[in-house]
Point group: C4
Chain length 121, copies 4
């Protein structure tokens, strides 16, 4: 399929809740889609309220593939992000991709999801 | 009404939870709107993390109609999508349409909805 | 403030749940914002899966005002929308406005919100 | 990083629930991201259904920083917003930024989040 998406994506509201319940770990996922026929190299930069950004963290995303990157998994992401701390992130890709950001929050016996297509340009 | 929307839409975060509760099956819906006076032919392509895409799956959408396509209903969609597996999808339409993606997750005794207008171009 | 927004807005996933709990009625709201110095006249059209659209339903939105229009209140909206039925809607405005769509679903003892900025052009 | 975002952002559906549960206060956050190398001055204006807007309320946002502004904290925001009252807001920034709006609602024993990238131009 013809490539679709943008090279730069931004998510201002990222947060890994410190607590979990329901036997499901609170987490966030940066869900990427690359419909093109070229593999993509994507680079994450993480922003905080009171310190300099962390990054770039480079990941690969195959041609004609999606990848739902768990932001709470240091082994998958290559960097350990703090829980209970507001942050934000940017994703830059050499091939146009699409980014959707989602959170599962099971704090305090709750169980809730949110999602949004990220901001792109 | 004058046509509105785009020909290509993308949803990176699709997922059919394996579990349900509350007497309501966990599901996702691809909600399409065609405000034009022409019937639309829409084609879904489904993307995965570790295998080639499935599709195109063709559906019709009448002029001046909405259609909330349940992604967990193989009989309605014409293809069986796996539960408990991250995926993504693209929708292409011959007439401009609008796509909004929603999930109801009732896993583990939870009850939560999310939604977003899909990414278009 | 200088006007902001668009003249045409679209929401494909509208649905008024038939059930409620928690002492809070399941509902949807079409939340409009008019930051301009001119009153706006907005017109809703409602789309269904299996019948012709309903509308236009005209409402006013003052200059420098927001209005969170409850879609389940026939007295406020001027039309009775069915519960338990998938629908969609379009909003046209003579002045640029912004539309965000939200649902509170308290079906089956659940309690969940979703929201998205609508699609505009 | 090269600046990204827009100078004007709009959120039609703002609401601070009057009730809370789960030991977590119902609230909203205006999550801002400034990836540029210049500090930003952002100005909030709050819109209501039946009275003139409040503002501008000026806040700072450092270069390469995110800020998750709690709308229920008068000491942080510099203005006291009413609970249990529909409102909306606009954010103007001298440097391009990105805005995502989120709510945590723990009314009536519920626990739910919603989010959306705001509308920009």
């Amino acid at each position: 399929m013809k490539a679709a998406g943008k090279h730069r994506w931004f998510v201002p509201d990222a947060y890994l809740p410190a607590e979990s319940s329901h036997g499901l770990e609170s987490h966030e996922a940066a869900c990427l889609l690359n419909v093109s026929d070229e593999d993509a190299r994507v680079a994450f930069t993480f922003y905080f309220e009171d310190r300099e950004p962390i990054g770039e963290v480079a990941l690969s995303l195959g041609a004609r593939r999606t990848r739902h990157v768990r932001l709470d998994r240091a082994d998958e992401l290559g960097v350990e992000l703090p829980r209970g701390t507001p942050f934000a992130y940017a994703v830059e890709s050499d091939v146009p991709v699409v980014l959707q950001h989602s959170r599962l929050d099971t704090t305090a016996g709750g169980y809730t999801l949110f999602t949004t297509i990220a901001y792109s340009e």
